[in-house]
């Protein structure tokens, strides 16, 4: 457990293991109670909260979330209003709230939003320290996103929408693979074999905010390439990138036709229609098939399985998933109530059932929640469990802020991979172009 936490010190490790020993005697609790995880907070009298969150990807999420909200209101007598917006629309709204100093007290948003206006956010170091201690620590990516100076937390991680490779077991088997390959070389061989068998896979290469960014970032990172280094110098025009793009070119030849036009919904549609044997996606494809009344789709659900993205020359997992944060804005009149709300929602009693209700769409940010039964109730869920553990922040390996947000929104990496994969540009040209485009964002 401690291995997965970069910042865990030996002292903390001892404390945690002591906690494990203590917990083992108490009973079958899934988290480790740290003796020092203490929380005292008195919400303001007459407090009212407004929360803006990304709208659900799955009904169970919002149903359970609202139940938890009601439990909070009942316990503290604090009225909470929840507004929902499509996840891509939360970003501008949150920015306007930050700028004007008015709007929701708490916003649940995505990726590097908190890094755009850290000075407008309430410091939540005490809350994150408490939760981290109580629940086995935060995954490293949480700190990359929300603890930019290594000391202060500017938001509370909520989790992420995990992505894995979604594939048809029978078709992978028919292509001569008993197990899904774990490395990029084996993966390319599999994709070639699938193409030969007439059951190709496919990945979105259009301007797809979610699916496009997710797999193209994995692709370049898996080959050791990155957009920027730790000091925000643009280093995308590198031999590693060229390698990654040459790989992409070969991979693209095996795709189903039309992936250059694919937006976020296309791979779901193609997969569920049986036209695509492998793609990268959240758990939604599986659930659409599993919960469908169509016997053909139910049959397909039995044939669907998931695997984490293959490991490339970089030697470590290099995934990108949709990260969720929780931000408290300084303009709130009730910072203590807001903190209490987030704490309440993150506690096992609330967060555990919420994870289960979200049927695997949301992966936990806290290590202890790995043991949530949602990940084992169906073995096909398990790969999504590690989404937070093995992901990197968007804008890796640099600092997050306007430059990383702008570069991602402008599809620089997606376009580069699409250009090279489709042969519209050579890998060298595509990398040079991406370098120039990215340098404009990282100029300051």
């Amino acid at each position: 457990m401690s291995r997965s936490i970069r910042t865990t010190k030996r002292r903390d490790f001892l404390k945690t293991t002591a906690g494990v020993a203590a917990a083992a005697t108490v009973g079958p609790m899934i988290w480790i109670k740290d003796a020092e995880a203490q929380w005292s907070n008195q919400p303001e009298k007459g407090a009212k909260l407004r929360v803006l969150r990304w709208s659900r990807f799955v009904q169970g999420d919002i149903d359970q979330y609202m139940k938890n909200v009601q439990a909070f209101s009942a316990k503290y007598g604090i009225e909470v209003r929840i507004d929902n917006e499509s996840w891509e629309d939360v970003r501008p709204k949150a920015a306007v709230a930050a700028n004007t100093g008015a709007g929701p007290d708490i916003i649940l948003s995505t990726h590097d939003d908190a890094n755009l206006y850290p000075e407008k956010l309430v410091d939540v170091t005490d809350l994150c320290t408490y939760l981290g201690k109580k629940y086995g620590g935060w995954y490293p990516v949480c700190e990359a996103y929300l603890r930019p100076n290594g000391k202060n937390w500017i938001g509370v991680p909520l989790g992420c929408a995990g992505n894995t490779l979604v594939y048809r077991e029978s078709q992978v088997k028919a292509a001569g693979f008993d197990k899904f390959p774990r490395d990029t070389d084996g993966f390319l061989k599999l994709m070639k074999a699938l193409k030969e068998k007439g059951t190709p896979g496919g990945f979105a290469l259009g301007n797809a905010t979610g699916d496009g960014n997710v797999w193209t970032h994995w692709l370049i990172w898996s080959h050791g390439a990155k957009l920027v280094d730790e000091k925000n110098n643009v280093v995308i025009n590198s031999p590693q990138t060229i390698k990654a793009l040459e790989y992409a070119r070969e991979l693209y030849q095996t795709f189903v036709p039309g992936t250059l036009s694919w937006l976020d919904p296309n791979n779901n549609k193609a997969f569920l229609d049986g036209q695509c044997s492998v793609t990268a996606n959240g758990i939604s494809i599986y659930y659409a098939a599993k919960t469908s009344k169509d016997p053909k789709l139910q049959e397909m659900a039995a044939d669907i399985n998931h695997a984490n993205m293959p490991i490339g020359p970089a030697g470590v997992p290099t995934e990108l998933n949709l990260f969720f944060n929780q931000m408290i804005f300084k303009h709130t009149k009730y910072p203590k109530a807001a903190k209490e709300f987030i704490r309440f929602m993150m506690e096992e009693e609330q967060y555990g059932p919420w994870m289960q209700a979200a049927i695997g769409y949301v992966t936990q940010p806290l290590v202890a929640y790995e043991k949530n039964p949602i990940w084992t109730v169906d073995p096909k869920h398990t790969p999504y469990r590690d989404a937070m553990k093995i992901m990197r922040p968007i804008g890796y390996a640099g600092r997050l802020g306007y430059a990383s947000a702008g570069a991602a929104a402008d599809f620089i990496v997606v376009n580069m991979v699409a250009e090279a994969a489709s042969g519209a540009r050579t890998p060298q040209e595509a990398a040079e172009r991406a370098q120039k485009r990215a340098e404009r964002y990282y100029k300051v």
């Binding site: 206006y117 905010t209 036709p257 250059l260 485009r437």
Partner: protein, 325 residues
Amino acid sequence: MIGFPSPRFRGEGTLHHATVARLVHALVNRLQNNRNALGLLFILPAGALLLFFLTYPLGLGVWLGFTDTKVGRGGHWVGLENYVFLFGDSVARLSLFNTLFYTVVASVIKFALGLWLALLLNKHLPFKAFIRAVVLLPFIVPTALSAIAFWWIYDAQFSVISWTLTKLGLIDRYIDFLGDPWNARFSTIAANIWRGVPFIAICLLAGLQTISPSYYEAASLDGATPWQQFRYVTLPLLTPIIAVVMTFSVLFTFTDFQLIYVLTRGGPLNATHLMATLSFQRAIPGGALGEGAALAVAMVPFLLAAILFSYFGLQRRAWQQGGKD
């Protein structure tokens, strides 16, 4: 312009009530009898609306274009930096090309088809009213909805066109409507044409109906062929309407957003990014409000050029005033 009765009353607080009442009365009287003042008064609400909802946002947009404002963060004046940046940006230049190509090709075809349709509808047809209503349908359907329909029609896996052609044995693989840069450009243009033709057709039809039949009678008595009637009677009399309709059409096409956003989001490889969609992408999801505003403002000169062309090129032809060109 309204004119106070006398400046010496200003600022004096010791006037008798009666004097004040008399003064107000005189003022109101004068106002009521002053056409300029009344006109100004009546125009005031409209003026305020224009100022508030048009001039202010436009002014703000222009100003933002000169700043480095981010969504959520105020900006500083940076002069022409955004414009210099955009000029050196290959994606922005590509979007300019896409926008011009999209506008020119779509507008020319929309005009040709619209005029043709208008001429057909102007003939005596059975169920005339019904047919005219049906023709308007593409224009009435919300763009976002028709765009979603086109998205399915063009889908790489589920395209009904590809399906039909495959079943007929005419092609052996699905057409990559939106996955190939040039296919995508023409596909989006086709969708735009489908939506835009009814507007032009109905407007031109209205124009056609204002042309008195006596001209055609006179022309046919003089032995004019149908082509000559069209060329020397219909076209000259229709030109003012054409100018207005095409100005609008060009403006709508140039600033198109929804269709592209639903169909391609500017892809593939940014081949269908119009200035409007790129402006949004940079300003809102990308957070660079200043740059996005600059990109939007960069559209204004092209729009002005289109308006001026139609105004001076088509509307003020001397022959329309009975003179010669």
